[in-house]
Amino acid sequence: MMEPTAYLLLSGILFGIGVAGVVARKNALIILMSVEIMLNAVNVAFIAVGSHLGDPTGSIFAFMVMTVAAAEAAVGLAILIAIYRLKETIDITELSVLKW
């Protein structure tokens, strides 16, 4: 059985990049992409640990996450298109009517 350290390190770096993208970027499309990166970072960690423990559950979960991510991307993109049609922007700092 292989050691998962390097994979987990990769997973952590990817997750960090995703988080930084979600928090720092203003473009909603980039934020969605960053979320995808975070989800796939988690997939890496699932598969690495599953392989390390010889347990298929990790791989099964990765498939599960990929399905959800696909659905999420579809819904997210649809919403973005709808917002863009309405506001002609997808800059989240300008989409702040839901406040106070």
């Binding site: 988080v19 979600v22 720092a24 203003k26 700092t93 702040s96 106070w100």
Partner: protein, 684 residues
Amino acid sequence: MVTGILDYIWLVPALPLLGVLLNGAIALFCERPLLLAEAAHGDEGHGHGDAHGGHHAPAPYRKLVAFIGPAVVGAAFVVSVLAVLALAARPAHDRFFVQVLFPWIQAGGFSAPAALQLDPLSSVMILVVTGVGFLIHVYSAGYMSHEKAFARYFVYLNLFTFAMLTLVLGSNYLVMFVGWEGVGLCSYLLIGYWYEKKSASDAGKKAFIVNRIGDFGFMLGVFLIFWTFGTVNYTEVFAKVPLLSANGVLTTEIATAITLLLFVGAIGKSAQIPLYVWLPDAMEGPTPVSALIHAATMVTAGVYMVARSSSLFLLSPVSMGVVATVGAATAIFSATIGITQNDIKRVLAYSTVSQLGYMFLACGVGAFTAGIFHLMTHAFFKALLFLGSGSVIHALSGEQDMRKMGSLKKHLPITFTTMFIATLAIAGIPGLSGFFSKDEILWKAFSSEHGHIALWAVAALAAGITAFYMFRLVFLTFFGESRMEPEVEKHVHESPYSMTVPLMLLAVLSVVGGWIGIPEVLKGHNYFEEWLAPVFAQGAAGGHGAAGAHGAAHHPVALELGLMAGSVAVALCGIGLAYYLYRVRTNKPKEIAEAVPGLYDVVLNKYYVDEIYDFLFVRRIVNGSIVLWQAFDAAFIDGIVNGIAAAVRGAGDGVRRLQTGVVGNYAFSLLLGAVLLVGYILTR
């Protein structure tokens, strides 16, 4: 033990209470919807005069009310008579009966049951209350027949009768207090019967508030009795008096404090100086109410209470002196006001205050029997005078000003005759009831060990003034030429039988009512004194032999007869003066008034007592209340409440800024939360 009718003594207050419930149901479920519907249509916009509303299609419930109201009181009267007869059948020392209805307040060794006590004193009171009350209820059915709120009136009147009977029948001070407050409430309700009239609702409030001042004293007195005796039941309190005086618990000082506090209550309820001011204003109520509550019964509650507590009062010479002095002062003070008043009911109101002063004078000199005797005879003739004046007012379509009356003798023969009899009675003409009771008081004021010649002189002078203003009233109202408004004169009519029959019965009582107390010196026999002797004997036994006729023993018979002749002469002088001023030289009163304008104005304006009270107390309290309202309530209390609300709102205002609406901020706080959570789990 079989006591027969006495076991049913509870019916006496219960029957009027039944009337309250029945009439109350009618008032709520029949009359009120009718009145509300009428008010909604607004089709009858006439004002309210004394008994003179418009004519309505008679609703069927009114007949029922007019039957129930008097009938329950009449039935209570029948029960009272039977019960008193049963009591009288017993030997003198055994004329005492207590019926415990239910245990009421029990705490440790203290117990105040709801119990009724029938003894000679309360039997006199229930006979007066139910007897005179019945006649006035009958009279009311006629007098109030034009009123819209007919059932409401009888609810109040029956409730009053119930409360008054509770007051006089209660066997302890707490039950008495319940009745005491009940009659005060009914007095307020009935004075303010025409509550749409501002002066009437003001008068009601005034009566209630002034009475509360007295009630406060009464309550403190009862608390002090409880503190001293550990009980408030009459029999136990009075039985403990000799023991507690002997072992020093009940000192003269404590007795003085108790009795003076009780007397403050009596002052309020019975309209004595300085709390008499509410009674003249109480004339805003319907006239039968003035007759029943503000002449015959409620205002005598104070006299009853003082007489009931006679063994306490006799312990304190100071209190006795205060009672006698206040009584005599009130008697003469209000009599002088009575001279100048032009409103027929106000003259009678001041006369009532004055006569109540006589009763307290009697109590204050230890002649409790004479006080109760005068209470009874006064109930007869003053109720008659008020009902007679009501009949006059009724005939004159609500006119109360005697300057606009005159020559009514031929129009209202029955009213005139009966009122004239009552006037003779109150003036103290020999042979009529007022003579015997008033003369008894005058004699005791002179001869009793608590008495004083000054008290006698003041009372005799007041008797002369009483004769004067009462005959002034009669001359102005019934004699001379008519000064009526032509419009009014056309409608003058004698009252219906439901009103005149009570007048006639009361006239008979005003004549014969005194014959049960003819003094020995006139070769009579004072049955009344003999009847009440067991109640007041206790105080007399304690070395204060003023309750009985013992005082007379020290004075020659000739002196008593001489004083009697003197007081009659004073009364005749008063009558003669009234005759001279109001029949012979009718412009003379005006000249006199103009000769001493200052004095006349002062008396006409009732010595400005209302204005002085207004300046000294009412204005102060109102101003103080304004300060409390604005500085304490509006600024302080509301400040706390509003401050808390403002703080919460300010905090919310600050915190809501966190909701920026920018997704990035939420994402960041989400991240922060996740980091903190993970950090917490890892470092735990």
